[in-house]
């Protein structure tokens, strides 16, 4: 028997605990910076300044955040169904093939038709890559964690093969497709120049950021305002009760995974259609895994995911500024710092909970309202 304590108030759960975890992560990172022989406060100032101190910094921060919103939502939807989809990386990678196939193959279409088609193709490919593990889990009981992680590896090789033999123009040395010219998402800079006549700093920020907001709203609506969402959450929270209620677990597993994959696939929209305008190797760059940390930190709720994604966007953008400004703190050190944040946010999620419980319930009891 465990000593039971009362449940913490909501603001502690979604506000204070993540904040404490973040602070501890920053202190640990600061120590690492100190060991290298740099001033941690200066390093942090450079990171904050580098992402929030200029329009360009904001642009980059929001661009990274857009990716993490998509992958974070993907993890969250599966998580609500009780599934741990760690295949966002592979699903987002496969989605690029969808985007490029439509974007290049149908480029005779006018862009108002072509672009939505390319977005749908991205979602479809991401969904397909999550659908297979979903079916394997639902019908064969193959564990979703194992299959999705394996599908990351398969996608990594497969997409390389497809680009090389399917998309690379003859004579081109780089393993990448030719430029996608029709399915084009305008960057913030182009919008400012063309429509407002304003010149702003260059950044990869593009219209996909609005798609991320729409996706976040859609996920919220799906989970809390539809019968399907109710079934997804019921299955994740209590599978026995879901069976009693006549909710078919196999069906929900497959649907939830498909939606999850489609969301991960949207990451390719930002990256391929919005920024790179061509299909290239390794463009996902770990965003699929960051999505896990984002979903954990955001408590699998769209609002939390938006905030967490921005924090990780800040870390990414500030991190690159830092490695640029301080040669001692190289790119790998920045990854260490990001890793520490993920560690404290995700893995140590419950580390400070007992202490806080003791603080809130000094008598060690359950406050039954």
């Amino acid at each position: 028997m465990m000593q039971t304590r009362g449940e913490l108030p909501n603001w502690v759960d979604v506000g204070l605990i993540p904040l404490i975890n973040l602070c501890v992560a920053l202190i640990a990172s600061g120590l690492v910076v100190l060991i290298i022989g740099e001033n941690p406060f200066e390093a942090m100032w450079i990171m904050v300044q580098g992402s929030l101190g200029s329009l360009k910094g904001w642009g980059y921060m929001l661009y990274y955040a857009t990716n993490f919103v998509f992958t974070g939502l993907a993890v969250a939807v599966a998580f609500h169904a009780g599934l741990f989809n760690i295949g966002g990386e592979g699903q987002a990678y496969m989605a690029g093939v969808g985007a490029a196939t439509v974007g290049l193959g149908l480029d005779w279409l006018p862009w108002p038709i072509l672009l939505p088609l390319a977005i749908l193709a991205s979602m479809a490919m991401g969904a397909f890559w999550a659908w297979i593990p979903g079916v394997l889990q639902a019908k064969r009981g193959s564990h979703i964690v194992i299959t999705t992680i394996m599908f990351n590896f398969i996608a990594a090789s497969l997409v390389g093969y497809i680009i090389n033999y399917g998309f690379r123009p003859v004579g081109k040395m780089a393993v990448e497709s030719r430029e996608i010219t029709g399915a084009y998402i305008l960057s913030a800079r182009e919008v400012a120049r063309e429509y407002f006549g304003v010149k702003i700093a260059s950044s990869p920020l593009n219209f996909s950021v609005f798609l991320a907001l729409i996706a976040a709203w859609a996920v919220w609506y799906l989970l809390w305002r539809t019968k399907l969402g109710y079934e997804i959450r019921a299955l994740g929270a209590n599978p026995a009760a879901a069976v009693y209620a006549g909710i078919r677990a196999d069906r929900i597993i497959i649907i939830a995974m498909t939606i999850s994959g489609a969301l991960a696939g949207l990451m390719a929209v930002n990256e391929i259609l919005g920024v790179q305008h061509r299909l290239l190797l390794g463009y996902v760059g770990g965003a699929g895994f960051v999505g896990i940390a984002v979903a954990l930190m955001g408590r699998s709720h769209p609002i939390g995911i938006l905030l967490a994604a921005m924090l990780f966007g800040l870390l990414y953008q500030g991190g690159s500024e830092l490695s640029f400004a301080k040669p001692e703190i190289n790119r790998d050190m920045v990854v260490v710092i990001q890793g520490l944040v993920i560690l404290f946010m995700g893995a140590f999620e419950y580390a400070f909970r007992p202490a806080l419980s003791a603080l809130f319930f000094p008598l060690g009891g359950e406050d039954n309202q």
Binding site: G229, A234, A241, V243, G246, F361, N368
Partner: protein, 505 residues
Amino acid sequence: MTPAIELIGIDKRFGSVHANKDVSLAIATGSIHGIIGENGAGKSTLMSILFGFYQADAGEIRVKGKPVKIRSSSDAIALGIGMVHQHFMLVEPFTVLENVVLGAEGGRLIGPALVKARAELVRLAKDYELEVDPDAIVGELPVGLQQRVEILKALFRGAETLILDEPTGVLTPDEADHLFRILRTLTDQGKTVILITHKLREIIAITDHVSVMRRGEVVATRKTMETDVMELAELMVGRRVLMHVEKGPATPGETVLEVKNLTWKDRKGIARVDNVSFSVRKGEIVGIAGVSGNGQSELLDVIAGITRPASGQVIFEGKDIGILGDPRHVRAEGLAHVPEDRQHRGLIGSFDAAESAILGWHHLDSLGKGYRLDRDKVIARAKSEMEEFDVRPPDPLLKSSKFSGGNQQKLIIAREIKSDPDLLIVGQPTRGVDIGAIEYIHKRIIQLRDEGKAVLLVSVELDEIRSMSDRILVMFAGRVMGERGPDATERELGLLMAGVAQDAA
């Protein structure tokens, strides 16, 4: 003689809940002392304080007259206090011997401890009639023997005082009798037993003294010889209890449910429901009695569409619903189901009450057209059900797990009855529910019957079956042993429950 355990002025608060109010209790050495009370009366908290899980806010514990501080269960064990939990704390794939030694290995190597423990087990078995094969795998033992292993564990650690928390909840009557004999032997040898229960009969049958708890206080301590069931029940709830349910005669109409030669087999191919046939008519309550684990749960699952029968038919209003194997379709036909295990099946603890109150019925158009789920309608529906069925607190936004057992059950009953079923199947409607809620739940089920609906009731509480049912079926080993009227004697039903057939079923 100094009492084995004395609790003096124990006080414990959990936030705003006053779980134990100035509780004083003396447990005489070599006696069986019962502690009885409704769920939430503070029995378990008190014992948890004695066993070191909680610290009292105020008060003193004396063991054999000496004041002691018990900060953890290891302190309690060192003082000779052992506890047998309601849910066993056993490692199922381990042998009996390994389980007994667990946590008391006394060294890095397991070998010597096992040798010592084996000898000790032989001695304990001889002294207290606690025979268990030391090399049996615990997970393969029947529940009664598993409980014996728990007792052995406590004795092996030198327990002088043994606390048993609701020990008979999981036992057959035979096993319970055997347990009582063991407890008697233990006290004859000078051990002390504290028995926590909410079953009045057990208190009368086995204890020397009994303390009644209500709302965190010990309201009375009596010598068992000098009290009776009625007095204890009154003390428990603080008012006179209706021991019998008030209901008029049944006016059965046409047959609603007909189960024909139904068989259901588990994974090992054993028939857990074996060629069962019966019918339920409109306007009557058919009760299924039986010791827990004789196929009642499986029968309910098949009728509710959760599992598919191996053979036979479940005919509901002329349609074979057994072949559907889908609870949602079965519900759509007009069958409502209150599951036996409300915590694990009946509701979703992390959902708010409003969301739990639509579980299974969430696809109804009245809760939102098409794919949509209209939050306002969900809350409104829960609110009206909670008000009608007096669910407390009547807050549809409160998490389901925060309600007491009785209120959770009312929430489920409300959900199923308000779905306006032609047939309600109910499993253990009042298990772990306080007496006030029991009365109310019974009243609502009878009201449903009087409206001309059919009810199939499964309960392991014979009193409940006898007072509620218009016809009683008794199940044993997956078969229906016989059918009796509501006036059947307890002895008659008991024989059927034990598998002694007096007539061909």
